[in-house]
């Protein structure tokens, strides 16, 4: 294995600047159907260079793990070359320690929106939305601190009762003995209610937040998604609505919600409109997509692992540990991207200034050189809190404790009510290399 590792790295010579580089053909076979076994066997044997792991197919079918296992073993820092107009090529960082090294080196690896931001696909150059996750120090720090108090320990303690009462209400309203969509009735319902509270947004219009979240992470190239211009129009509409809230709150006493916090903090009160929009998108997606998909993922994993479900039913005290394991195993955001500010060497590979570097949290969370049996879902895993899903360094998830609290309360209340919740069929997944999530998952609670 060691020899193979070395060889692979040597053959990975980079395309740079005007140097013409003989690109291997980027042709993926057309598969007659998206049968998981067929796709997995292709990923297990195709030349590494032939695969574009950013292709939504590998995410919609949840087959990408096969490729990442190969990268971790054969080429842990690997360059995926340009794919026509989809992307200009990027480095894959796949192992735990390398992801940690990039995530904590803010001097070399930038999050700056003007350089493309924090996802594999660059922001539209004519529609740059600055947001604090896509800023470097020092501006990042002052903006992040403006919203930090919303998830302070004290604030979370104040939310606990509200979260619990809403969770009970939602669970008590679920049908018995009939099939329903868990994503819609539980995951979206709970996260949108929470998000409306955080923003001081009218509860009756909470699903608009879900809609904007979905639009901002949607892929304009995919059929059924809003195109680039339509997407921009929808987000400008969101900005308009939030600007009305802002104007109401900027001259009023602070109300403790995110809009009020941004309007009153000297670091954020004079943000240009696009920056206000950027931060809205960040906070909406951050508070919505992620927890939503861990809520769905947890139930799915327990169904796929009946032994773990039985363990949980026998010992409700495992909930807290299980929550961390769910978040690891789901990895609701599969990656974060950085841009190299200078030439640097990472894991023996020369990264050039300007290169796009993608940290695959979803792969680092399955690195068996750091984690014991990482491909298994183990609710009483030792040190389950040590996972990559929240990221590390200054951009680490600001809402991590809130997410954990929401999931903990949900599972405590589920266990009080339902002996079992049955997943009826494979869930429908989001076709995205960024948001690792579920569109729907049909379940039934026995009557």
């Amino acid at each position: 294995m060691a020899t193979q590792l070395k060889d692979t790295r040597i053959t990975q010579t980079l395309p740079q600047g005007s140097v013409s580089w003989p690109l291997p053909p980027r042709v993926r076979p057309e598969f007659a159907d998206h049968d998981k076994a067929t796709l997995e066997s292709y990923l297990a044997s195709a030349p590494l260079d032939e695969v574009d792991i950013a292709d939504p197919l590998w995410w919609e079918t949840d087959t990408n793990h096969v490729y990442f296992r190969r990268l971790r073993e054969e080429a842990p820092i690997f360059f995926t070359h340009v794919n026509s107009n989809r992307h200009r090529g990027f480095w894959n960082v796949t192992r735990w320690n390398d992801v940690m090294a990039v995530d904590t080196n803010h001097q070399v690896f930038s999050s700056e929106a003007m350089l493309g931001g924090i996802t594999l696909f660059d922001m539209d150059s004519d529609f740059i939305m600055p947001m604090f996750i896509a800023m470097d120090q020092p501006k990042h720090d002052v903006q992040r601190k403006a919203v930090n108090p919303i998830v302070s320990g004290q604030n979370l303690a104040g939310y606990e009762e509200l979260i619990r009462s809403r969770t009970c209400e939602v669970l008590d309203s679920l049908p018995r003995g009939e099939a329903f969509d868990w994503v819609d009735k539980v995951s979206i319902e709970l996260t949108s209610r929470m998000l409306a509270t955080l923003f001081g947004w009218p509860q009756e219009r909470r699903r608009m937040l879900t809609y904007w979240s979905d639009v901002s992470t949607s892929d304009p190239e995919l059929p059924g998604s809003p195109g680039k211009e339509e997407r921009q129009g929808i987000l400008l509409g969101m900005l308009q609505e939030f600007t009305m809230l802002w104007n109401e709150r900027v001259n009023a006493e602070p109300t403790g919600d995110l809009v009020s916090m941004l309007a009153h903090n000297p670091a954020t009160r004079n943000m240009p409109p696009m920056e206000f929009m950027g931060n809205l998108v960040l906070l909406i997606v951050g508070g919505n997509d992620t927890t939503r998909n861990s809520i769905t993922g947890g139930l799915y994993f327990l169904n796929k692992n009946p032994g773990e479900y039985a363990k949980l039913k026998a010992n409700h005290g495992l909930v807290e540990n299980m929550v961390s394991e769910i978040i690891r195993y789901q990895t609701p955001l599969a990656h974060m991207r950085r841009t190299a500010l200078q030439d640097t060497v990472l894991g023996g590979q020369l990264i050039h200034k300007g290169d796009k570097v993608v940290m695959w949290y979803s792969s680092a969370n399955r690195d068996d050189t750091v984690l014991d049996r990482p491909d298994e879902f183990i609710i009483d895993r030792a040190r389950a809190r040590q996972h990559m899903s929240f990221g590390f360094g200054i951009h680490r998830c600001v809402g991590n404790r809130l997410a954990e609290l929401q999931l903990k309360i949900l599972w405590e209340e589920i266990l009080k009510r339902f002996d079992h919740i049955e997943v009826l069929e494979e869930p429908e997944r989001v076709p995205s290399a960024f948001v690792r999530g579920y569109k729907s998952m049909m379940v039934r609670i026995p009557a």
């Binding site: 995530d103 904590t104 720090d141 992040r144 320990g153 996972h387 929240f390 360094g393 991590n400 404790r401």
Partner: protein
Amino acid sequence: MVKIIYVEHTGTRHEVNVPDGENLMEAAVQNNVPGIDGDCGGNAACATCHCYIPSEWQALTGERSELEDSMIELADTAQPNSRLACQIKASAALDGLEVHMPATQH
């Protein structure tokens, strides 16, 4: 072995004998001291082992690194005497050190 006393926000004390050279986050986690999480495994990259060092011990526990400083500054419970326990290694000089914990970790 070096005696370290972890003091919870409520005042509850936990005395732990820490092997020389081990960092104070690791020692707390290994001994199930509540209030120290250590999510990043000791890289100063998450601030979930945030603690306060009494003034008389500060010279002996050293200075914050750049990353440690950034992470602490983003915690809402940060104080001038804040440190990350994972960045402090047990040594004979620290025998009897009191490490105080915030009400919650971020």
